[in-house]
Structure formats: structure tokens, C-alpha cells
Amino acid sequence: MLLTPEIVPGLLATGASARVAADVAPRFQVGDLIRVRNHNPATHTRLPGYLRGKLGTVERDYGVFAFPDTHAHGLGEKPQHCYSVRFTARELWGATAPERDTLRVDVFDDYADPV
């Protein structure tokens, strides 16, 4: 396939979005407490290492996207929900972190377990 002028605006607007139009049930609801899996593959993942094993709260469901861990290696889209999950600074960085600081990170269904 060759790049034509009609393709460019959409590509730039979405940043080559990996959103998938698939009807997949979410494993979590907004407000759920989740624990991030100790997921540490030698292949591609979008899970930051500092989140492994941490507790967070689902704040928003973005919808369904291709799963980066399989999609990066030609292993299929494995479409699933991706969430904005809130972690407290103290959960991530320990007791000396500022008490009120929080961080939101995009977390795929396959990165987390219910608590």
C-alpha cells in the first residue's frame, strides 16, 4: 500500500490509533480496586515496571484497543479494554512520597487482577 494525501490527516489526527471496533466485555468497572500483575515479559509490553504488584483504582474505561504485547510481535490484536488507573504516590514510591499526590497510568485488562 502506498501513502496517498487522503490518508495523512486521519493518521496524524489519531497518531495511528490502535483502537479496535470489537465488542469485548470489560473485566473492570470504574471505581474497582485492581492489583497489577507481576507481568515482566522479555518481549514488548506497555506496562511500566514500577507498577508491577501495585494497587490502583479504575478511574475511566477508554474502550477497546489492540493489546500491545501481542500486536508488537504479529501475534494478533487480542482486543481488550484499556483503563486509566489511579495510583497513589505512596503506593508507588513508599511512605516518604507526598501524601496527596496520585498518578494515572493506562492499564490493559491483561495487566491486572481484581482485588
Binding site: L11, A16, N40, T43, T45, R46, P48, G49, D69, W93
Partner: protein
Amino acid sequence: MNGIHDLGGMHGLGPVLREDNEPAFHEPWEGRAFALFASTFVFAGYTVDEFRHAIEKIAPAHYLESSYYEHWMFAFEEALMKRGFVTREELDARIAQLKNGGH
């Protein structure tokens, strides 16, 4: 992949510096590198995730010392070599030609 790209929470890297009136591109070649994403993405048919993984495979010390769009160039080269559009030898020959003042 647990590599040098996964910098979150690391100490000793200094503050994040914010540039006033930051231009979209600091060098003309960066604009050309940006445009290469659209063309190579469409004709080479890779995914954003494959592109990101290529960047993760940059040797750790080089990763830290190279710029954002240098990382992109590395990912383009990886994707195009993987699909046989270009070889390492062809890229090296072109780089040598440019270094020697060629066009």
C-alpha cells in the same frame, strides 16, 4: 521488556527541562523523520507497537544519549530491514556517502 526505556521512578536523571516557545522540530531533518512515519507506516505495514518495541531494542547507553527522532530513525531502519526493503549494508554505505560530503 524490562529495559532502559522504562525510566519511570529512576533517580539521578535530573529534572525534566521545559523549553519556552519550543519549536515542533529543532532541526530540519527532524521534520523529515516525522514525515517518514506516515509513509513507512502505510507501505511497510508495521504497527505502532512494533515501532515502539524497535525503540526498546536500542543499546541502552546509546538510547540515553540519542534524541527522540534518532530513536524514530532507528525504528524505521529496523522495520524496513525486517521486511527486506533495505539492508544494513545499504544504510551504512549511504551514511558513509553523506559523511564524506555526498548528496
